[in-house]
Symmetry: none
């Protein structure tokens, strides 16, 4: 029956269950039963339960890292930031199940090794998107741009519209928030951030 794809199947089922019922409440027994194998089989493919989660996050980590690297190479400015949001929107969308898992298991994430490493990525993104010298409210706008996208997909559950339409709407609002913040602080702060003299 299964042929070489068991590892993949474990990841699929694990992600399904982790995001559905939470990491702690999902036991390896459950995962194994869903797959029709023994718990021990899981251990042939992954060294620990946490390892399964880590392997899942590789899908999300790589594109994030690439996005951060790309952003670091660009001129800081509104253009770049808007593009970062656009790309991040896609990254989140591609890994929406995992993203939901993250979103709903924050307390757990904090204890997982991968949690820390992922939080760092988030902080970097925030750093890229934020306007350091700006008003508190504009800083909130920048953060909100990011977190609106995080919360976005689950926020609109009761509303009609295709998944893709929703994504675009969320992105629009996020970009709007950023643009607003920029409109009031942009030039000043970017110059400061770039370390340039007046």
């Amino acid at each position: 029956m299964s042929r070489g794809n068991t590892r993949q199947r474990i990841q699929d089922v694990a992600l399904e269950l982790f995001s559905e019922r939470g990491y702690e409440k999902t036991s390896l027994r459950e995962i194994a039963e869903h797959l029709g194998v023994t718990k021990a089989a899981l251990y042939y493919h992954f060294k620990t339960k946490e390892d399964i989660v880590i392997s899942l996050f590789e899908d999300l980590s790589r594109p994030c890292d690439e996005l951060i690297a790309w952003a670091r190479e660009q001129q800081p400015g509104l253009e770049t930031r808007l593009e970062v949001l656009r790309r991040y929107s896609e990254v989140l969308h591609d890994a929406h199940r995992l993203h939901r898992f993250m979103q709903e298991n924050q307390a757990t994430m904090r204890e997982l090794s991968i949690g820390e490493s992922f939080k760092e990525r988030l902080v970097e993104l925030l750093d890229i998107v934020r306007l350091p010298g700006a008003d508190l409210s504009d800083q909130v706008r920048c953060s909100a741009a990011l977190f609106t996208m995080h919360a976005g997909m689950f926020t609109l559950q009761g509303i009609e519209g295709s998944q893709e339409d929703k994504r675009r709407a969320v992105l629009e609002v996020a970009q709007d928030l950023l643009t607003t913040a920029h409109g009031r602080n942009g030039e000043r702060t970017d110059a400061a951030a770039a370390g340039e003299p007046g």
Copy 2:
């Protein structure tokens, strides 16, 4: 030693630990040890572990219910909605620990009876704040207004400013989002929501 306030102390410690390390990862043994009592003592005051959580949520539920009831009595309109946001901001702030717990244990909340009942309240708030007929992007703005406040306090951790200043900045952004959405859709949709003919 302490007299009669044990129930209160249990709630304090439980909330502390639940919000710090997550609901599932916090065992009754830990709570008991922090308090210097036996696990059995907890069972004198609460019937189950879940009961402790439920009792914690009463602090947050009552003000929410009152807020919802109050909003239902008002004329729908921007004024009312802005005031709802303002009041909700305070409610969240007063219960910020619990709120953090909610925020970080969403997966767990879904399995807890209180989770459902709290989600309903949220849906009601969303319903009050939202503009049903509006563009998707404006609906996102309305949701984002609410969720920005949810994420707000933890979003701004790395930034200087007093807790109260941050709260106000977050509120300002949330109200802004709502106002923007209104500006474009307001009159039409409110009439519709009120079920009134043109």
Copy 3:
């Protein structure tokens, strides 16, 4: 049925099984079953499996420490050493089950925290009993005096004679070994050990 003595009963059964079938081969399930309680009950009384062993060793550690302390206060010399052997013989005899456990689970002992701490005691006893400057063969005699007693009780299994008679016979041989070693090296080495000038 059991009343307050469960902890004691656990220790008894554990020692029985540990010394009979070895530490690793004895599972907590077995111990629990022998007692007619659940595994979890064991954990009420002891924090870990290793903790059970540690508690068992307290019976042996205290008299050993006392013996060492006493010996350190005496004048080094044959008299003292013979008396150390005599007392040690009794200590071992009183804890013969535990002693057998130690004897037969040396590999395990090495991994147990208590193992190290017990080995140190042994080294101290050896140090007390040994003649540092003597011939190799006399040093062997001193060590053998101690280890003969260790091996003694199990060495004589096939032989008729009461337990007490055997103990005394073993002690006699051990003391003999020590006396022989002394006869040839005694005065010289004791002076040296005591750090006295000629």
Copy 4:
């Protein structure tokens, strides 16, 4: 890479680990990893884990059997016994790793089939060396002669001197013990042991 010597390498690593960390605590996975092969490879060469141990003991069993056979052919008497000790000293020394394993895993040995069969050999050696009708204390001397050699190598760890010097010192003491026992009981008991009438 290696050709045909895998079986040998398994034995080497197994003995290394068994004697270092104990039989039960050493898993086949560990052995396999140390060798850079799969667990399954071990099963190509040995039917069970116990089989590995058995194969190891063949190195020790053959010389022991030969020693016993030789001794049975000799005239019982001090001469023979001293020679038995001398030869046994060499046998133990040649297989000192295995011997250490035996020494430190007695509890385990008792459960292994090879354990019983090895114990029988020991009993035979004891029988050869012992003086049946003698005082208890002299019987202890005979046993102690054997067991001093068993414990010997590990007894002298803290002491300076070459491995070979120590072996000879231990042998000397063992032979001394036997000679002492003989001196007092020799003639009588040997005649009895040989089943001869006065």
